[in-house]
Amino acid sequence: MERIHQNLPALIVVLPLCMGLITSIIGRRGLGWWLAMGTASAVLAMAVQLLVNVLESGTLTVTYQMGSWPAPFGIVYVVDPLNAGVLTIVALIGAIVTLYARKSIASEMDPRRLHFFYALWLFCMTGLLGITITGDAFNLYVLLEISSLSTYTLVALGRQRNRRALTAAINYLVLGSIGATFYLLGIAYLYMVTGSLNIADIQHILATKVFPTWGTDAPMYRTTVYVGFALMAVGLSLKLALFPLHGWLPNAYTYAPSSVSALLASTATKVGAYAFIRVIFTLVGTGFAYRMLHTDVVLMVSAGAAILVGSWMAFRQTSLKKLLAYSSIGQIGYITLGFALGNVNGLTASIIHLFNHALTKGGMFMALGVVAYRLGNTRLQDVQGLGRKLPFTMAAFTAGGLGLIGVPLTAGFVSKWYLVTACIEAGRYEMAAIVLVGSLIALLYVWKVVEAIYFGKRPENVPGVKEAPLTMLVPTLLLAGASIYFGIDASTSARVATAAAHFLLGVTP
């Protein structure tokens, strides 16, 4: 037990990796799901334990040296309040969606190849957890690619439902690889300057050796760091689907299998956002990124456009999965806006929205998965009048929708509270206005669906539908319930988010 405890940071990544491999070998005939489910639950337990460890440790960090090589020579895994929180999000959503995936995916692909699905599923989790926990810039790239490669394949598995999944996957692959390559090139530039790949070490060298010589005798360094940071920023923006680099997202989310959409929407872009926050706040620091380069202005413009355009595009969709996908682009705008503001409340808003949006969007995608499971389709006309046929599922969808709008007592409101307060504190009144207008557009697109669900007429001549099977319904309701619960009592999530924000900005609360 003690050994497990010591090795938690490594185990949380190694366990899903090994289990994924084992699943691909022996996971036939339903065993795959049991292995995946067991792993996901264990990972959740470990993530929560890590979060507790971090918050209770005096320095707020837990470090783990791979192969006992000390940093900066070896790869270290560093857990601080920020990534402990993100780990918990990924693990929580992973566990819940795995529970849900069993029935959902069984109806969407060849049952003989299900063990590959669960193996890829676990690899994807490995990558996402690894990105979050690693303290090494290059290791981050490798894990980013592990998660991305399995994601491309998972998206392509939607081919049985619709062949467009394949084109969506290849499109995602091309853009995702370009993003990752940009990131890789960015690291090369920082490596040229600092000779290190360890994030903490790079930060230290930049802060003590490179930035102080600014403008004196080392003008070459400046351009190199500029270029490196710019390349990393562009690469991560692609992964994060920040407007206008969001082109891959709508189709990938729409045509992927239901459970994959739920997992991706609530974790993949979140982890991208995490990596971006890490690069800006830990790696180069806000002093360089915001005050010197004014990246914050660029990010804010992108975020504002993402909120408005993403939400508006969502309103125009008639395919509900696409609607949610575009809405995700808008929500990513909120997350980006939060950390672009750079103050404590903004960062808190960003981090807490990572969590809240994961719950909200995950629940909504799962509800749509139920619709797809029962009706084979998720167009707007398919959910007409479903409120009475699938009362619990549709209630979960509506609860999520209210969260997207940011109605009080839902998780979305808590994020919005921090975000708008931060905008006003930073004197960005126009951004506050955009956030509020964004929630109004969210009202439009959510209400369009809610009206169809509760006031629409079921078309004649369609067979009756039953409520979802329990293994799908329970996780859906769990996430929807959580998105309400964390709107009513946000003290836990806000505590972690605030701790992370304080930690990143070096502010003592």
Binding site: V407, V414, W417, A432, S439, F455, G487, I488, A490, T498
Partner: protein, 507 residues
């Protein structure tokens, strides 16, 4: 039972009631019994706090912390007490009336209907007892959302379209303006420029304005955001939702107009003026004068529109818009007496308007008539209904011996008090003119209805379709409220005392 418990129960009992109602879906009689029982119990709980409040007590209770530093908490003070008492008192006849109406008209989805009422009343009590801006906003939104299924109850295209207008205007204003104001104040609070997010005597901007941390322009802007953020007060031009909501069944209209929704609007206006911005601060900063003109214009314009409405419920709706602006006008005088008049008018208008709506619904249930022009001679067939209607009319116009007179009297006193403040007096003159002229207009659009009902002969087609009074729950309910309207003119001690307490808190 401690007062703290009572506060929580007053909100919890309706919620519990709606659960019980949902569970007794199959047994209508049991369901209706739960509805009535919840109504009586809620009123009992709220009323039991009255002696304490009159004695000067202000019990508070914190339910939970939603966001660190921002709790969902409640505090009972005289102004909130007025609103809570009115809402819960009138909810009792309203429930009785709903039962008669829904059964009389064989409406569908009755259970959903009865579930939403207690939810809305719980939200209303939450607004009344809110201790801070956040709590008020939360319950303000839940009130909007819980009444939405009521407004769109019929479920046809018309109802859905009106539901969009209802939700669209109320949510747009509250999100774009009120939420912005709340968050702005929260941001100022984080920066230390504002003393508290709680409702405080004399407002929360005193130190900030004095030290210059809050500029007068932002102070005025926030006041503007708040006034227009409270779309439920139906100030022009954000009044469109109220006529739109007329597609709802009549008990819902009565609920919207008299019991909870619009009253929540004007209540919030009074509350933020008194406890957030501070009457004397607004007066001395001169940042709220525009409100008199807006309110006055709304009164006159809405009355003029009402004059030309043939649909009875639409006419009543525009009358409500103008009556609400009386409250806002009272507030906009920024004097203690003005605030008192506004507070009192909440009560007065509630009693009168609920009677009028009950009567309109009664006519619809018994005779299936919706237009004013169809009402010729109906008073002889439905004497109770139209008698009550007449009493309500008098209250709206402000004629003794009904309660509407009392609030109008207070309002004029408020104008007189405002006169003593040395400035141009132009606003006061405007207010007086508005009050006098609108009284004439009120008479102009209400009295013809009474005249038609009692003095014009029945038309030939009506003669062929004989009908009597509406079902007994309806008649009982409207008689009760009409009696209250009359009775309250002579014995309005509770409301008056509470309003007096509010006045003292201001002055």
């Amino acid at each position: 039972m401690t007062p703290e418990m009572t506060i929580l129960l007053a909100i919890g009992v309706p919620l519990l009631g709606s659960v019980l109602i949902a569970m007794s879906d199959r047994v209508p009689n049991l369901r209706e019994a739960f509805t009535l029982l919840t109504a009586v119990a809620t009123f009992g709980l709220v009323a039991s706090l009255y002696p304490l409040v009159i004695a000067g007590g202000q019990p508070r209770v914190e339910l939970l912390t939603v966001i660190p530093g921002v709790p969902l908490s409640f505090k009972v003070e005289p102004l909130g007490m007025v609103y809570a008492l009115v809402a819960t008192l009138l909810w009792m006849p309203n429930s009785l009336y709903s039962i008669g109406y829904m059964r009389g008209n064989n409406e569908k989805h009755q259970t959903r209907f009865y579930i939403c009422f207690p939810l809305a009343i719980a939200s209303a009590i939450g607004i009344a007892f809110a201790e801070n801006l956040f709590t008020m906003f939360v319950f303000y939104e839940t009130l909007t959302l819980s009444t939405f299924p009521l407004v769109t109850h019929k479920g046809n295209t018309d109802a859905v379209r009106s539901g969009r207008v209802y939700l669209g205007i109320l949510l747009t204003t509250s999100v774009c303006f009120q939420l912005l104001a709340v968050l702005w104040i929260a941001a100022l609070h984080n920066g230390g420029a504002v003393s508290s997010l709680n409702f405080t005597h004399g407002g929360i901007f005193r130190e900030g304005l004095a030290s210059g941390a809050v500029s007068p322009a932002i102070f005025g802007l926030l006041f503007f955001l708040y006034i227009y953020g409270i779309g439920k007060a139906a100030l022009m031009p954000v009044h469109r939702w109220l006529p739109a909501a007329m597609v709802a069944p009549t008990p819902v209209s009565a609920f919207l107009h008299a019991v909870a929704v619009v009253k929540a609007g004007v209540f919030c206006v009074i509350k933020v003026t008194v406890y957030v911005f501070g009457v004397d601060l607004l007066q001395s900063q001169g940042r709220g004068d525009w409100l008199i003109y807006v309110a006055g214009t709304t009164i006159l314009a809405a009355s003029l529109i009402a004059l030309f409405q043939d649909n009875l419920k639409k006419r009543l709706a525009y009358s409500t818009i103008s009556q609400l602006s009386y409250v806002v006008l009272g507030v906009a005088l920024f004097t203690p007496l003005g605030i008192m008049a506004a507070t009192f008018h909440i009560v007065a208008h509630a009693f009168g308007k609920i009677t009028l709506f009950f009567a309109a619904g009664s006519v619809y249930t018994a005779a299936h008539k919706t237009q004013v022009s169809q009402l010729d001679g109906i008073g002889r067939r439905m004497p109770w209904t139209m008698g009550a209607f007449a009493i309500g009319t008098l209250s709206m116009i402000g004629v003794p011996p009904v309660v509407g007179m009392a609030s109008k009297w207070l309002l004029i006193n408020g104008v007189v008090e405002a006169w003593s403040i040395p400035d141009g007096h132009f606003a006061e003159v405007f207010a007086l003119v508005v009050i006098l002229f609108s009284t004439l207009l009120n008479a102009g659009y209400f009295l013809p209805i009474v005249y038609r009902a009692f003095f014009k002969p029945l038309s030939d087609s009506d003669r062929a379709h004989p009908h009597g009074e509406a079902p007994w729950p309806i008649v009982t309910a409207l008689t009760f409220t009409a009696a209250l309207t009359l009775f309250f003119f002579f014995w309005n001690k509770p409301a008056y005392e509470l309003a007096e307490l509010v006045r003292r808190a201001v002055g």
